[in-house]
């Protein structure tokens, strides 16, 4: 690993406009269950972190599960360049995510990062709406935090089935105005994310962002189109490599089939065939 890393320092000195990516061994600092299906895993590198944009992701090797062969992609959630730590929010969906949530502090995980292209950051003075659901809350919160706008200009809607499925994001009030929806009405607005009153007047926003289940993103995108507000979504297509060599993760776009892992995961909905 260290050797591989040193290589790159040499090779990339002064070279190319291509984004530098690394395979790096991280140590688990903490693994905190937010609720029964969502875990926040914080990982520390022994090397200075690469620069990470909101919406970029990492492909994580899942140790210890004989039934898991490939890595699994997760959004890079919280990033701390001082302590060289990153966090990922893992929602248990199947065998790989389940095994990942069982890692313990001190264990090592191999991460390939930073992968993909992040969200287009808002310009000064803009007002944004970021909508997250399911495993899609991570990139949306990351974006909110990195938007560098006053909290009243940054609205986040987080959707979940029930209050107990929501993750604790109180500290995000430092960077955003957070709203909740739940299918059962146990927290915030009763209904899906698009039932939230903010959707009544989307024209107040300069940009809308969404990540979550496909139907949710499509619903948000449809509303944004109606209101003629720029909308970016972050797709979660199945991936083998995560860095553009296998062509498994493609999404049909106006420019043909594009790799979600390199041309995305963030796409402007106008470019998608939705």
């Amino acid at each position: 690993m260290l050797i591989a890393k040193m290589y790159m320092l040499v090779i990339f000195a002064g070279k190319s406009t291509r984004m530098k990516k690394v395979v790096d061994q991280f140590t688990v600092v903490s693994n905190i269950p937010y609720n029964s299906t969502n875990y926040c895993i914080t990982l520390k590198s022994s090397l200075p972190l690469e620069k990470i944009e909101a919406g970029q992701f990492t492909n994580v090797e899942i140790p210890g599960n004989k039934d898991v062969f490939l890595r699994r992609p997760f959004s890079l959630f919280e990033v701390d360049y001082k302590s060289n730590t990153v966090s990922i929010l893992v929602k248990i969906l199947g065998k790989g995510s389940k095994t990942l949530t069982e890692v313990q502090s001190g264990e090592e995980l191999s991460l390939i990062y930073p992968l993909g292209k992040g969200f287009t950051l808002p310009s000064k003075g803009e007002k944004i709406l970021a909508v997250g659901g399911g495993s899609g809350v991570a990139p949306v919160l990351h974006l909110a935090r990195n938007s560098h706008l006053p909290t009243e200009k940054v609205h986040v809607i987080l959707g979940a089935r029930s209050a107990s499925d929501h993750i604790p994001v109180d500290h995000y009030s430092e960077w955003a105005t957070c709203h909740y929806t739940t299918d059962d009405g146990s927290l915030g607005i009763h209904g899906v994310v698009t039932s939230h009153p903010l959707f009544k007047d989307l024209t107040q926003f300069d940009r809308i962002y969404a990540c979550g289940p496909l139907p949710m993103m499509k619903a948000v995108a449809a509303q944004a189109k109606l209101a003629d507000v720029s909308c970016e979504v972050s797709l979660e297509n199945l991936m083998a490599c995560g860095f553009g060599v296998c062509l498994c993760c493609i999404e049909p776009t106006n420019k043909g089939n594009l790799c979600v892992c390199t041309e995305g995961p963030v796409f402007n909905v106008n470019n998608l065939k939705w």
Partner: protein
Amino acid sequence: MVNLSVDIKGLALKNPVMTASGCSGFGEELTDFYDVSELGGILLKGITLRNRDGNPYPRMAETASGMLNAVGLQNKGVDYFISHIYPRIKDYNTSLIVNVNGSTVEEYVEVTEKIAELDKIAAMELNISCPNVKEGGMAFGVSCPSAEYVTREVRKVYPRPLIVKLSPNVTDVTEIAKAVEGQGADSVSLVNTFLGMAIDAVTRKPLLSTITGGLSGPAIKPIALRMVWQVSRAVKIPVIGLGGIMNATDAIEFFLAGASAIQVGTAIFKDPNIPVQIVQGIREYMYRHNVKDINNLIGGLQV
């Protein structure tokens, strides 16, 4: 110093470790991680005469120690390759090999003619074994007469080293290998993927848009190794081995079985550094076991 360089009938490789076609793009993505001059060669993503969108999503399913893919040769066609991609990659300090596909012999020949013009392409790999699309030519690769036919026609228009990539989906791979050898192939590479399938028991649907796809990864290594061993004893031309190679030990096994060089495919998805680590691991093995020249390992199985 140990010697790692091998010669595949005119294709001189600085070391015997290449990346497999379709698993390393056009090499560019690897440069995001390291200097590709460390590699013996890069097998470029399969190209066809015309632009191909490939198969619909989903194109991938994980299996036990492997994966199925149904990419279906998505590429922008040979002309785009020549005008846009070749200029960007031609000066990589490693052997670049184009993987050529077609649905008719005419298509194969037409692509080959264009590739033959490119100075910095060291060799060509004729893919008659992609199980995912008609253009991948598996129809050509599973019978001797058709394999002979396409090899003969392509051979006529390609003066540089010609590698023919064989399908493992056959009763006797040595027959096909001998057939293409007879038509002037300089080398055979094997194996391409095994035709496989995956089903979602809950939705009752196939996991791939194309129902079936190509199986790769460590799962297939024992079969690939057997085929390389059989073929290397059946033909006189050098054999390039691949199929599930994940580390230097796997690579050594292929050399012992008779491969003169190897390719690394699916392993790259797990870690793009693996091909470079394999080069280093082979070097260490050679020091440890006092092997001065990699060529002394080739076919060295003690039976």
